[in-house]
Each structure stands twice: as structure tokens, then as C-alpha cells.
């Protein structure tokens, strides 16, 4: 059997949106290289509960890197050290005996803490609500193959469409901008003929909503692209800007 090793954890505790937060520290010596990062936290929580203490809350669901629920900031990096990997897919073999690991929630004014490492990302829902869709009622669609779409175009649309809505881009951005998330949806839909009809209305509505939610502006730091678990290209933001300018000034 693979041997267990020890890590020193420092994690954020906050008992509610208005409570004062603080770091708690604990050493965990039953870590195994095959564990995922979140399984390591499960083990921590089992230990805490057996001592009658409250577990640390963190968000997750699929644990396969696709639902976008998990969003820990690990040693200052959204989703941790592995490129193109959500933290639920990060494995403890990326750490070694004696490592110090600091775990924080993604910090942004638009993402208030709910408890410990869990934050409220409903702002993302409201950005989609503002226009991140094609207005097609059920039953009113035409035959799927009636309109061919170039394979290359469709592939580009797909790349943007893979955003999992985790919010790492916001956490990593010095301005806490949601531009990569918003741009990804706009760029996905604007590639496709189905999405182009509403493009002007969409881009204005979504960008305005983003500002209203308290996300910052984009100053091209590029941190968002670096942490994005789906490696969404920052060109999404350029597409969004271009469409915005076109919509507002034409």
C-alpha cells in the first residue's frame, strides 16, 4: 500500500456572511498520494467530527471537473497548482510530506461568503439571465440540419461553451472582473448563426449586468486565462469588447 504522509493545513473559517473570518490550522498525517484534494478535506472533516468539532464547509458536487461547484483558492492560486484542472481533480500526489497548504474561498465583493469556503455565486446566474441564451421556445425549432455550420466555427463555439461557471477567473483577477466568464458565453453564442440574431442586445445586457453585480473592469492582466480549469482563451474578452462597441456605437 502507498504510504501516508503529513501536510500542514491552514483554512478559512467564517460562520456566516457577516461573521468575522479567521484562519484555523491543523496538521493532517493520513494523506495519501491517490487522494483527491477534496477527499483530503473529507478526511480532515471526519477527524474534526470525531472530536466533536464542526467540519469545514466547501462546495462540490460532481468531483469530475465539470459542474463548476468547487472553487478553492489553494496557496493563493484559484484551483491550485495544476494547469487546466479544477481543484476536485487535483490529486495529493502533487504535494509532498511536510507541505504547508493554505485554503481560502475565492474572494470578490460580488461573491459574499456563505460559510467557511462556500461563497454565493448567484451573480453569475443573473448575468446569464440578462441575456446568455437564444430566445427559442420549445417546439419552434427548425430541422437541425437545415442550417449547416462550418466545423471550424462550431469547434470554436464549443471551446467557449465549455466554461463551467466556477468563478476562478474572478478570484484570480486583481480587479475581480467577471469578463472571462461573461465573454465566454457571449463568444460562444456569437459564433453561431442561431446566436447572432440577438447578439447586440445580449452583449449590452450581459455587460451591464456584470457591472451592476459589482465585478471590476478588465485591465488585461490575463490571470483569468491562467487559472481557468477549461483553459478558456482570453480572446473571449476581446470578442465581447468588439461586440459591445459595435452594439453601442452603431
Amino acid at each position: 500500500m502507498s504510504k501516508n504522509f503529513t501536510v500542514h493545513l491552514k483554512y478559512w473559517r467564517q460562520n456566516g456572511p457577516t461573521a468575522k473570518g479567521y484562519f484555523e490550522e491543523r496538521t493532517l498525517d493520513t494523506v495519501n498520494e491517490h487522494m483527491s484534494f477534496l477527499e483530503m478535506l473529507d478526511v480532515l472533516n471526519e477527524e474534526l467530527q470525531l472530536e466533536g468539532k464542526d467540519p469545514v464547509e466547501f462546495d462540490y458536487d460532481c468531483r469530475e471537473g465539470i459542474c463548476g461547484s468547487c472553487n478553492l483558492v489553494i496557496n493563493g492560486q484559484a484551483h491550485g497548482p495544476k494547469k487546466g484542472t479544477a481543484c476536485c481533480q487535483l490529486h495529493m500526489r502533487n504535494y509532498k510530506h511536510g507541505d504547508k497548504i493554505t485554503i481560502e474561498p475565492p474572494r470578490a465583493a460580488a461573491f459574499p461568503v456563505i460559510k467557511d469556503l462556500v461563497v454565493d455565486r448567484s451573480a453569475f446566474d443573473r448575468i446569464i439571465e440578462a441575456g446568455g441564451y437564444v430566445s427559442v421556445k420549445t417546439g419552434s425549432a427548425q430541422e437541425a440540419n437545415a442550417r449547416p455550420i462550418e466545423k471550424e466555427t462550431s469547434d470554436i463555439a464549443f471551446d467557449y461553451a465549455t466554461c463551467i461557471g466556477c468563478g476562478a477567473c474572478v478570484a484570480a483577477c486583481p480587479n475581480a472582473s467577471a469578463s472571462l466568464f461573461t465573454g465566454a458565453k457571449i463568444a460562444h453564442l456569437s459564433q453561431l448563426p442561431q446566436g447572432q440574431v440577438e447578439q447586440s442586445r445580449r452583449v449590452v445586457a450581459m455587460v451591464d449586468q456584470m457591472t451592476e453585480e459589482g465585478f471590476g473592469d478588465c485591465s488585461n492582466y490575463g490571470e483569468c486565462e491562467a487559472v481557468c480549469p477549461k483553459e478558456i482563451s482570453i480572446s473571449a474578452i476581446a470578442e465581447m469588447r468588439k461586440d459591445y462597441v459595435k452594439a453601442v456605437f452603431s
Binding site: 487522494m35 477527499e39 469530475e64 446566474d125 441564451y133 437564444v134 449547416p148 462550431s154 469547434d155 460562444h188
Partner: protein, 640 residues
């Protein structure tokens, strides 16, 4: 109780059309006056909520996750079937229907399955119109692939993320309706009970998962689209929040639960590595097209797999099933993997794995070709298992993946409680004893986009608009009090064992005895063990934290409590079914060669269980809906 399937009269291919013609309608200006609740916003619930809201109904949509976009449907990889016949390879609605009913080993309703095949094409149209970026050919037209052993290419896909793209399509349509004020949206809310007044579903009780507040919601119809119950096994490919609570609480209120023992196990998952394991990761079964499955012939052979010579390798699928070899259906592949491991031939640290070896494929086609086909899967494997599958065979093991059983519904997707509907994986309707690959997404979206919008209208047409009892009605009081009492009880136990510890123990019983292979003896002992463990749970579980705050472990606690009761029902159902069919293999009912032996004469029925009470043991009554096959001829499966 008489179970009425409400299947319309007439020839198979006209049933749905003529039913739609005959159904009652609600006038557009009256739709505003009706409230419809959706519990769950996965493919089924998201599609249904959006569609009903577009029609003008007032919809309330609830989900556990912080956004509807995160429902478990998001994880589906492989694709979605439809009978478009774009490749011109002889597919048709009838063939999709036939494959589905045969794949389900003749334990589903003909009429439901036919309708599913019939609307499958509209789903693809709808998704494309929403901007779902399905794979395309260089011609710009949609691409198809063959999937799960089908003889035609009818699967539409968006790389390995088909579920994600389809769910985002439904989610976006739903958010449009939120914006328009037709949907009131409740993420991070969990349904804890259905409220029934004079025998009719009239609302639900929820817990706000952030504040802990118990809330009451009144409605004219309630749809449960709450997904499957695979997590009763603790380890499964399901998302961590997947659960049976919504369906089970409805069951406790009188809704019948059908075929609970029909559970699909997927053969190609990454094996368990230790006790801390929290879920299992599926790898596409397309890998079996090129990988060869084997174990060492010698017990305890711990040589590096590449050092084991050809004659000492047991390619058990190829030997036992010469014509299908590594491509036998999911259940056959899973069962054989378990059998060889039971014989002590399993590999890896735990002995619970078999090899899936690409050595010969790489030799034949070159590493680049294999990389082009499976690169992302190989990367995923390496990331999780820490081994390079180009150099060393993968280790795989079966894992629980999908539950065919669920709430009993009639042709209109209504449970036996008027006003209470069930859709998607939460109902039992279309897959019989075994589901074919790429047809769960199809069913969820068919239910949500096309079936419910018609049948709910038909139901509401007979409900007086504006009927309101008020959420202070005694039925709401009672249900809300029960929900709160259960939570208080769990929090007050303050025992010594954690929830996960209990769940893991329950899962082990269910996996060992109600899993891939079942026997009378095993099932009877499972029932006793489940009862004993349940009793211990209610005495010794430790539930941390407070009720009025975000508390994930408290959520798990009541979901596990419900899994205990469901597990017992699964065992009873498996005991009752003295035959082997689809994924249900009873050791006593096999051919001499060890193949499943169906018994159409005695067991061609849907088992629909009625809840009575839990008093040390689960007390239930079985109702049977006979299955009649007017249009297809029943055949035994054979993969030899």
C-alpha cells in the same frame, strides 16, 4: 389498488399523436392562474420548467446546487440518441424503439418507449436552435457515432461533454424565463416533503440550505425531476448531491416506487484506491473498442503486467464470449469482472480491478492513432490513477452508474397521486431492466420538453383555476413540522459514528448483496443487516453543526436516512423477482452456461411498491402492472 397505465388505444405509431389530439388544453390567459413546481433542474426539470414557463404557467424551480447549471446531468459524457438517420444506415423511429425495449430486456412499456423514440428528433432540433455546439462534419452537418453496441450511428455528441452542453441549453432557456418573471428560482433549496390535500398533490416543503429555514410552497401540480438514487451504494459515478430524498418522501406519502432493484453498473470505471474514496469516475466504454480486458491466470501474480507472458493472461471476455469478446453489453462485462475478482484473480493494491490493455492496439495502429482517439481519456486516467496507460494497462472496475427504477408513473408521467408527476431518472418509465447508452439524456429531455408540457396541461384543465388552500392548511403544518422534527432528531443524537461512516457501511452491504449479482440467501441477509445498521444509525450517528446555517453534513444525514429505507426496498424487490433480466442477475436463475434466464411467463410485470410504515422493518405492499407486448416479439438475449 389498480394501476392504470393510461396508455392510449390504437396502433403504436399513432398513440402519442392521437393522445395529443384528445388531450384537454388550458387557454393561454388561464395558464397564469396555475402554479407548477419543479423539484430538480437537471435535463428533465430544467427543460420542463423552461417549457411550461414559456407556455405561460407560473413555475417555481428548486435545486440543491447553487445554480441550476450544476445538476448531475452536467457530467454525462458520451452522447444522446435520436432516430434522425442522417448517416443513412437504416435507422428509424421503430428501430430506436425496438433497440430500447430489447435493451431493457422487455421490462418496459411499449407505448412509452415508442413515444421516446418518436420525440427524439425534436430534441436535437431544439438543442441546435439553442446553440448547443454538437460535433459536425466538414460539410457543416451534424456528426453521429455509434455507441453502446448499437448497430447504427445515431448518437449526437459534443466532444466528451454532451450532458454539459445540453444542460446549459436547458438552463439558459430556463434563465430566460426567470428574467421574464415566469419562473421563480430557488437554488440551494431542498425539498423535504410533498403536501397532499384530499389525495391530491398541492405543494411542497423545502429547506433553505443557506439559512436552514423550512418553507412552504403551494401549487396546482408538482413535478419531481430529482434524478436517480445510485448513491445508495455510497460509491457511484453520480454527483455527491444525487439522492433519493425527494422521491422517497413522495413514496412515504403514497407514491408507488417501481422496480427499485434495477440498477445499472458500468464496466469501465477507475477502481477504488482506498477508504477515503468519495466517488468513482467513469471512463467512456468506447475504450473497449481497442482495449483488451484480462487478468493473470495465476492467483496473486504480482509481476508487472507487461512481464506476464501471453499464455499466462486470461482474456476472459474473449474466451467466454467469442463472438462479442470485449464488446459484450455493460451488464455482462461488469458481471464477469466481478466474477474473476471474486475468484481471487483481481489486480492492483486492492485486488478489485482488471486490466484494460492497449498494448496490442498500440502495436497495431501506433501510439499516435490511439492518442487521437482516446487522448483525453488516457490523460484523465493518468491524472487520477497516477499511471501512464500507454505504457502499462489501465486498471478498471465496474461502478454503479444509473438507476432504471424510480417513481411509478402512468403514460402521462403522473404518479398514482393526482397532481404529482415524475420525470427523468427519477421515474421508472422507459428503460426497463437495463438502459442503453446515450438514452438517459434523450429521456430526460423528452420528458421535459415534450411530454410534460402536454400532459400537465391536460391534468390542469380539470383543476379549477385559482384553487388555493393556503399554506397554513393543516396538511402544510403537519408536513413542515415533520420536516423540522426529523432534523431536530438527527441533530440531537450526537453519537459516535459519522454519517459518511454509516453511509459507507450501508453502501458495502448494498454493493455486496444487491449489486451485480444477487441470491435469495444474500438478499435475506442484506435485509437483516440493513435493518440492524439503520437502528444503529438512529442511535449512534453524529450530525455536526446547527440547523439554521449552511450545513452539508446535515443534508447528507437525512439523505442517508432515506437511503436506508430504500436499500431495504431494493432487497425486497430483488427477492420478489425470481428471474434474471437486464441488470438484475439472480444466481438461482441462470442457464447452465451462467447466462441470465428471464421468465416472461411469471415476471413480465412492473413491480410497484406501496409504502406502509417502518417499524423496525420496512412494511410494504406489492402491486403489479402487467406488461403486455402487442408489437414486439420477446427474445432471449445471447452474446455468445
Amino acid at each position: 389498488m389498480k394501476l392504470e397505465s393510461k396508455v392510449p388505444e390504437g396502433p403504436l405509431e399513432h398513440k402519442w399523436e392521437s393522445h395529443k389530439k384528445n388531450m384537454k388544453l388550458v387557454a393561454p390567459n388561464n395558464r397564469r392562474k396555475y402554479e407548477v413546481i419543479f423539484v430538480g433542474t437537471g435535463l428533465a426539470g430544467g427543460a420542463g420548467a423552461a417549457s411550461l414557463a414559456e407556455m405561460g404557467y407560473n413555475v417555481k424551480a428548486f435545486c440543491i446546487q447553487d445554480s441550476a447549471r450544476r445538476a448531475h446531468s452536467i457530467a454525462a459524457q458520451g452522447g444522446i440518441n435520436a432516430a434522425k438517420n442522417y448517416p443513412n444506415d437504416g435507422d428509424s423511429i421503430y428501430r430506436l424503439f425496438y433497440d430500447t425495449i430489447k435493451g431493457g430486456d422487455y421490462r418496459s412499456r411499449e407505448a412509452n418507449v415508442y413515444r421516446l423514440a418518436e420525440v427524439s428528433n425534436n430534441i436535437i432540433d431544439q438543442a441546435v436552435a439553442q446553440g448547443v455546439p454538437f460535433a459536425r462534419e466538414y460539410s457543416g452537418l451534424l456528426a453521429n457515432r455509434s455507441f453502446g453496441g448499437a448497430q447504427v450511428s445515431r448518437t449526437f455528441y459534443a466532444r466528451g461533454q454532451t450532458g454539459q452542453q445540453l444542460l446549459l441549453g436547458a438552463y439558459q432557456s430556463m434563465m430566460r424565463q426567470v428574467e421574464e418573471g415566469n419562473i421563480e428560482y430557488f437554488p440551494r433549496h431542498e425539498m423535504l416533503d410533498v403536501v397532499i390535500i384530499d389525495g391530491v398533490a398541492r405543494g411542497i416543503i423545502t429547506r433553505d440550505l443557506v439559512t436552514g429555514e423550512i418553507k412552504r410552497h403551494e401549487a396546482d401540480a408538482v413535478v419531481l425531476a430529482s434524478g436517480g438514487y445510485g448513491n445508495v451504494f455510497y460509491l457511484s459515478t453520480n454527483a455527491k448531491n444525487s439522492n433519493v430524498t425527494a422521491a422517497w418522501r413522495a413514496h412515504r406519502k403514497g407514491a408507488l416506487f417501481a422496480n427499485p432493484c434495477f440498477v445499472q453498473v458500468h464496466p469501465t470505471c477507475i477502481p477504488v484506491s482506498g477508504d477515503y474514496q468519495s466517488k468513482l469516475t467513469l471512463m467512456s466504454e468506447s475504450l473497449r473498442n481497442d482495449g483488451r480486458v484480462w487478468v493473470p491466470r495465476k492467483k496473486g501474480d504480482d509481476r508487472h503486467p507487461n512481464d506476464i507472458p501471453e499464455e499466462e493472461r486470461y482474456y476472459y471476455l474473449e474466451e467466454r464470449y467469442p463472438s462479442f469478446g470485449n464488446l459484450v453489453p455493460r451488464d455482462v462485462a461488469s458481471r464477469n469482472a466481478k466474477l474473476v475478482c471474486d475468484e481471487g484473480l483481481g489486480v492492483g493494491e486492492t485486488g478489485l480491478a482488471v486490466y484494460l490493455d492497449f498494448r496490442d492496439a498500440i502495436k497495431r495502429d501506433g501510439e499516435d492513432t490511439i492518442r487521437a482517439k482516446y487522448g483525453n481519456l488516457f490523460d484523465m486516467y493518468e491524472n487520477i490513477a497516477g499511471e501512464n496507460p500507454y505504457k502499462r494497462p489501465m486498471r478498471i472496475f465496474p461502478a454503479v452508474h444509473y438507476t432504471m427504477g424510480g417513481l411509478w408513473v402512468d403514460y402521462n408521467l403522473m404518479t398514482n397521486i393526482p397532481g404529482l408527476f415524475a420525470a427523468g431518472e427519477a421515474n421508472f418509465s422507459d428503460h426497463g431492466a437495463n438502459r442503453l447508452g446515450a438514452s438517459a439524456l434523450m429521456q430526460g429531455l423528452s420528458d421535459g420538453y415534450f411530454v410534460l408540457p402536454a400532459t400537465i396541461g391536460n391534468y390542469l384543465a380539470d383543476v379549477k383555476p385559482g384553487t388555493r388552500y393556503g399554506t397554513d392548511h393543516e396538511a402544510f403544518d403537519e408536513a413542515a413540522k415533520k420536516a423540522q422534527d426529523d432534523i431536530d432528531k438527527l441533530l440531537s443524537i450526537k453519537g459516535k459514528r459519522t454519517i459518511i461512516d454509516f453511509h459507507r457501511s450501508l453502501g458495502k452491504i448494498v454493493w455486496d448483496k444487491i449489486g451485480i449479482q444477487r441470491s435469495k440467501e444474500g438478499l435475506e441477509s442484506a435485509i437483516k443487516e440493513i435493518q440492524a445498521l439503520r437502528e444503529e444509525f438512529w442511535k449512534d450517528v453524529y450530525v455536526p453543526g446547527e440547523k439554521n446555517n449552511y450545513n452539508k453534513y446535515l443534508e447528507f444525514a437525512f439523505r442517508v436516512a432515506d437511503f436506508f429505507e430504500l436499500a431495504e426496498l431494493m432487497a425486497k424487490d430483488a427477492l420478489d423477482r425470481e428471474e434474471s433480466c437486464g441488470c438484475h442477475l439472480r444466481e438461482e436463475y441462470q442457464t447452465e452456461e451462467g447466462e441470465a434466464l428471464r421468465n416472461d411467463k411469471e415476471f413480465s410485470y412492473v413491480s410497484a411498491w406501496e409504502f406502509k410504515r417502518v417499524n423496525g422493518q420496512l412494511e410494504t405492499e406489492l402491486h403489479k402492472e402487467p406488461l403486455e407486448f402487442e408489437f414486439v416479439e420477446l427474445k432471449q438475449r445471447s452474446y455468445k
